[in-house]
């Protein structure tokens, strides 16, 4: 008997059943109630609550935003001290006076009509016109909660910069300026960040052609002269000040980072970075592809731990669709995420030690990593970029000997980790290179929006797996490792310990065994029907065609979902307009803010220190530049 029978009564026309009603987040009432409490505590006139969101959400007047940010940060009770994200969404339809948002009025080749405007979520009021939503997301370590602030800006208008309040907003504001052309008044260095100097227009605007390129020639490349840190400005020196360029093609930068430093003798007295040498337009590309097709793109964000990206994106869309993934798929996702986290740390530590001349560790660490890739390849047929998950579950069930293979990996791994520890941990040559190098204090790190191992190395035990557990992490017994000092050595220690904790999680997961059952949801509007049915049943064949032609159509709405990536909180913000392509996919890359703090960390130190510090931050260019 067909399992699809329960959907049979649904006609094949019109929006898919997944898209009949607007998106209602699971905890909307709680978020609204909490929003009221926040508004009462703050008593700020410029905030209008936006109801029915997945976290407390406010629309803030353009003039008031910096005040609100400061009040939220300085409030004793609320203590929203960490800037998580700042990005924008473009709704060109608003300027033409349509009632709301312009969602659905896309020029994109979508063969579905935009859904009925009455079905759209109850968004608020017309007091705030403007084409762009500039969205701030803050996090409170004290209360473990998030808040979303939206500012509506018209084309050509500007906002006051938030950099005096949160240093972490610096690069985000540059990114919003680059991608949307929203100007931030008072920003210290408002120039393009991801695209190049000869670029014209603003790429993430809806009216920008995704394939319109601008060619950069060598003559156009701007010269970067770093600003000298005020601490060193009037210091008497015997040396001539030299400006030195590192990268973007440099063996120590692991990718495409470029740093320009000004040296006084050997001391770094000024530094500036240029990024965007791997800006592959992830966000624009996801707007031109269907929800399912975005998954291979997410692989290529943090390519050292690709499955975590897959999981994060898929869970964001699943949250939007309101579907629950089968237990077996969740279990596999968790196990592979932990393997990927280990692989990520192995690459980070291995290459970091290579930079310091300890080549042997590279061979030792890359051997277990190769075995992890062997396991991933046995599951889904690709080593590095697996694209294993699908929205609603997994592409295919794991091979029968998955648990045995995992057990063998878990058994062999500690030997290699211990070897590396023996090689370097008591080695004075290594310790001299790392202890006290590039430190950052906990307050600074939070102000910059650090997450992940780099934040934990400052002694702040923030881990998304503990703070907002997903995939059943709350049922596992593991510890969040922290260290003190925030220097390169602390980051090394935290990563080493995190690998061991991941092994603990994996051991528990293996002991529990894989739950029986399917690996993907039984919903023909989300997951392709089994091939056996496609070949033999008319109805399944129609669902199959329908899903591939029209894609998954989540309900109109927006949501944010975060997972703990290899480098910190990896968040996906997905806006759906009810069609088969996402209206906007925002990836919150953890590297972005960590790298923006790099000049502060290396100021007053030497170039070799900077190289050692850079390796320990584990900046992945694909994630940094989207």
């Amino acid at each position: 008997m067909s399992t699809l029978t329960k959907f049979s009564a649904i006609p094949y026309t019109g929006p898919a059943p997944t898209n009949r009603n607007p998106y209602v987040p699971a905890g909307a009432e709680i978020a609204d109630a909490r929003g009221e409490v926040i508004a009462a505590a703050l008593q700020h006139p410029g905030m209008t609550p936006e109801l029915g969101q997945d976290m407390p959400s406010f629309i803030v007047d353009k003039e008031q935003i910096v005040d609100v940010l400061r009040a939220l940060k300085e409030s004793e009770v609320l203590a929203f001290t960490m800037p998580l994200d700042l990005f924008a969404v473009d709704y060109p339809g608003r300027e033409n006076g349509s009632r709301e948002s312009g969602v659905g009025s896309r020029s994109n080749t979508s063969d579905l009509q935009s859904p009925n405007p009455d079905l759209r979520p109850p968004t608020a009021d017309t007091r705030h016109p403007g084409r762009f939503d500039v969205i701030y997301q803050l996090y409170s370590l004290k209360n473990n909660e998030r808040i979303r602030l939206k500012v509506r800006v018209a084309d050509g208008e500007s906002i006051e910069t938030g950099t005096p309040v949160f240093k972490g907003l610096n690069w985000y504001e540059r990114e919003v300026f680059d991608m949307y052309g929203v100007v931030f008044d008072g920003h210290p260095n408002l120039r393009r960040i991801l695209t190049h100097e000869a670029f014209q227009g603003h790429a993430l605007r809806k009216d920008y052609d995704p394939a319109q390129r601008w060619i950069l020639t060598e003559n156009d490349v701007a010269k970067i002269i770093p600003k000298i840190d005020p601490r060193f400005e009037n210091v008497d020196t015997d040396y001539e000040r030299v400006t030195l360029n590192l990268g973007p093609s440099h063996p120590a930068t692991h990718g495409t980072l470029r740093i320009v430093v000004t040296l006084d003798g050997e001391t770094i007295i000024g530094a500036d970075q240029e990024i965007g040498y791997l800006h592959r337009c992830f966000e624009k590309m996801s707007e031109t592809h269907t929800y399912q097709q975005v998954i291979p793109y997410t692989d290529r964000l943090n390519y050292c731990s690709a499955i975590i990206n897959n999981v994060g994106y898929c869970m964001a869309v699943e949250k939007l669709l309101g579907i629950e993934v089968p237990a077996r798929a969740q279990h596999v996702r968790l196990m592979l995420s932990e393997f990927m986290r280990i692989a990520d740390h192995l690459v980070c530590i291995g290459t970091n030690l290579v930079d310091m001349g300890a080549l042997t560790n590279f061979w030792y660490l890359f051997q277990p990593r190769e075995e992890i890739y062997g396991l991933i390849e046995a599951c889904c047929g690709a080593r590095l970029l697996p694209s294993y998950t699908r929205i609603g579950g997994l592409a295919v069930d794991v091979p029968p000997d998955f648990l045995q293979k995992s057990q063998r990996l878990v058994d062999m791994m500690p030997k290699f980790i211990n070897d590396v520890e023996k090689l370097v941990d008591r080695n004075k040559i290594f310790l001299d290179r790392v202890v006290g190098v590039a430190p950052i204090s906990a307050e600074e790190a939070i102000n910059y929006g650090f997450t992940g191992p780099c934040l934990r190395a400052c002694g702040v035990p923030f881990d998304v797996r503990k703070a907002t557990p997903y995939l059943g992490y709350e049922t596992y017994d593991f510890d969040v490792p922290i260290a003190e000092g925030g220097d390169t050595y602390a980051r090394f220690l935290v990563r080493m310990e995190e690998m061991r904790q991941s092994l603990r999680i994996l051991q528990q997961a293996i002991e529990r065994g894989l739950p029986e059952g399917p690996v993907i949801v039984d919903n023909p509007y989300v997951a392709l029907p089994p091939k056996a049915k496609v070949y033999n049943e008319m109805e399944s064949l129609i669902y199959h065609f329908k899903l591939i032609m029209h894609g998954i159509q989540p309900p109109v709405g927006e949501t944010y979902f975060q997972v703990e990536g290899g480098n910190g909180e990896l968040g996906f913000y997905v806006v759906s307009d009810g069609t088969k392509n996402p209206y906007r996919v925002r990836c919150r890359p953890p590297c972005f803010q960590i790298y923006s703090a790099f000049p502060d960390m290396i100021m007053g130190q030497t170039i070799p220190d900077a190289i050692a510090a850079l390796g320990s931050l584990n900046i992945i260019a694909g994630e940094l530049d989207h």
């Binding site: 991801l194 695209t195 190049h196 670029f199 790429a203 920008y208 052609d209 995704p210 394939a211 319109q212 390129r213 601008w214 060619i215 950069l216 020639t217 060598e218 490349v221 973007p248 093609s249 440099h250 063996p251 990718g255 495409t256 965007g276 040498y277 791997l278 800006h279 592959r280 337009c281 624009k284 590309m285 291979p296 793109y297 290529r300 390519y303 050292c304 690459v347 290459t351 590279f362 061979w363 890359f366 051997q367 190769e370 075995e371 890739y373 062997g374 396991l375 046995a378 080593r383 590095l384 970029l385 000997d401 293979k405 063998r408 990996l409 058994d411 062999m412 030997k415 260019a621 694909g622």
Partner: protein
Amino acid sequence: MANLPYDSSGSIIQRKRGGPPGEGAEKGLITLPGESEREIEDLAGGTYLTTTVDTMVNWARGNSLWPLPFGTACCAIEFMSMVSSHYDIARFGAEVVRFSPRQADLMIVAGTIVDKMAPVLKKIYEQMPEPRYVIAMGACATSGGFYRAYHVVQGIDEIIPVDMWVPGCPPTPDGLMYSILKLKEKIQRGEVRR
């Protein structure tokens, strides 16, 4: 000595004896239609008539390809896999990874090249001494891959000449080694003159 805690001859990597190197290199499908005819042509008209010195030089060049990894993205990680413990590129004289373009003669472009990077790539290519060879590794470097986007170079042959294209996203380390071997054979046959 104690056994390894895991069985490396187990199912993660199965080991099987392959054919001799030449045979393996000719095996791939994509090279094929007309490959044999072309070789006969070369024998008749081109390489056969070159002097012994040329043959010697080509043999030496093919056996000492010093790679410059122009690694930008995911493919660079697979390149690292190729030079790490599981694969042994040193057997073909290509293990001397040089990050200075002055000391390298094979550039492996591994990863996406975006418009911002294009002048850098060109400059580094021009700094390499001749003869210089280029392998474009992976979908992004060869054609832009699925990034038909506003900031991505649609194939590095827009910027520099390419001798060997390796499909895959990313190609496996063996796939990359195969392309190096094939390039080596091409050089030794005298087909690449640059």
